[in-house]
C-alpha cells in the first residue's frame, strides 16, 4: 500500500489564539471538535501559567497528543501509543511545514477558515504524488 502524507497521526488540528480551530483532519475519535480544541487551549494556558513551561505532549494508555507551535499557530496531532514518539512528531512537523508553505499569507488573519478546507485533499495524497506535484511546480516556475 502506498504511503499517504498522513500515516501515523489519527487526528490533527491547527489552532490559532484562543483555541480557534482553523483546520482539522478528523476521524471518528473526536465527537465534539470545538469542545476538544477548547480543552486543548485550556490545558495549554494552565500549564504555561502554572509552570512557566511549554506543553509538548500528553500521553495516555493508548493515545498520545503532540503539540507543535509554529508561525503563531498550534499544530496538534493525535497518534496511537504504538507509534514511536519521533515518528509522530516528525509527521506533525512535516504536516505543519506543508500547511505553512501553502497558507502562509492566509494564516496572518485566519478569519475565513473555509480557505483551509482545501488542505483536506492534500492529506489524502500519497507521498510520491505530493513530491511529483512539487517537482512539476518547481520546473514550471523555473521554465
Amino acid at each position: 500500500m502506498k504511503k499517504t502524507l498522513v500515516e501515523y497521526l489519527k487526528e490533527f488540528f491547527v489552532l490559532k489564539e484562543g483555541g480557534k480551530c482553523i483546520f482539522s483532519k478528523n476521524s471518528d475519535l473526536i465527537k465534539d471538535e470545538s469542545l476538544f480544541t477548547g480543552f486543548l487551549e485550556a490545558i495549554n494556558g494552565f500549564y504555561t501559567l502554572a509552570f512557566n513551561d511549554e506543553l509538548d505532549q500528553i500521553e495516555g494508555k493508548n493515545l498520545r497528543i503532540t503539540f507543535l507551535n509554529k508561525e503563531d499557530c498550534q499544530f496538534v496531532g493525535i497518534s496511537p501509543m504504538a507509534v514511536k514518539n519521533e515518528e509522530a512528531r516528525d509527521e506533525l512537523e512535516y504536516f505543519a511545514d506543508i500547511f505553512i508553505s501553502r497558507f502562509g499569507d492566509e494564516l496572518e488573519n485566519g478569519e475565513n477558515v473555509r480557505i483551509f478546507h482545501s488542505f483536506s485533499s492534500e492529506i489524502i495524497k500519497t507521498k510520491s504524488q505530493y513530491l511529483t506535484e512539487l517537482l512539476e511546480k518547481y520546473y514550471l516556475v523555473k521554465n
Binding site: I30, F39, F51, D53, G60, K61
Partner: protein, 146 residues
C-alpha cells in the same frame, strides 16, 4: 525523593490529600482541580487513561491506585523510567503507611497525611541501602506502623 520534584496524592474530585511543598506549585488546591479536569476530559473525550503530560522543562506522571491518583512532577532531564519508578515507589510507601485512605470516613482530615513529609525527604537509597529488597523489608518490619 531523588528524581521527583513534587509528589501529590489526589482523591476523586481533585481533592488534595497530600502534596510535598516545594517551590514549584504555589496553589496546590487549584493545581489539584486542574489535574482532575484534565484527567476527566481526557478520559471522556478520548476514552483513554491519562499517563503523562510533558513540557519542554517538566514532566507530570500519573498513577492510579486504590481510587487515588498519585502524581509526580519531574524535570525532563530525568529519565522517564527513573521518574516513574520513583513515583511507584513512593506510591507504594504511601499506601503502606496510610491504608486508611481506603476508608472514606477518614478522607476528610488530610492532616494525617502530613506525616509523609518525613518520608519524602528520604531517597530510595535511604530505604533500600545496599541489600535492596531485604533492607526495605527490614525497614518495613521495624516501622512503627506494623
Amino acid at each position: 525523593m531523588e528524581y521527583l520534584r513534587e509528589f501529590i496524592v489526589l482523591k476523586e474530585g481533585g481533592k488534595v490529600l497530600y502534596c510535598n511543598s516545594s517551590e514549584l506549585i504555589n496553589d496546590e488546591i487549584l493545581f489539584g482541580g486542574f489535574l482532575e479536569a484534565i484527567n476527566s476530559f481526557y478520559n471522556i473525550s478520548l476514552k483513554d487513561d491519562l499517563r503523562q503530560i510533558e513540557g519542554i522543562v517538566l514532566r507530570i506522571s500519573f498513577l492510579t491506585k486504590l481510587g487515588c491518583q498519585f502524581v509526580g512532577i519531574s524535570s525532563m532531564n530525568v529519565s522517564c523510567n527513573d521518574a516513574i519508578e520513583e513515583l511507584q515507589f513512593f506510591t507504594n510507601r504511601f499506601i503502606e503507611l496510610f491504608p486508611e485512605i481506603l476508608n472514606k470516613d477518614n478522607e476528610n482530615d488530610v492532616r494525617i497525611f502530613q506525616r509523609f513529609n518525613s518520608e519524602i525527604i528520604k531517597t530510595k537509597k535511604d530505604y533500600l541501602g545496599k541489600g535492596f529488597e531485604s533492607n526495605y523489608l527490614s525497614y518495613l518490619l521495624e516501622s512503627e506502623d506494623w
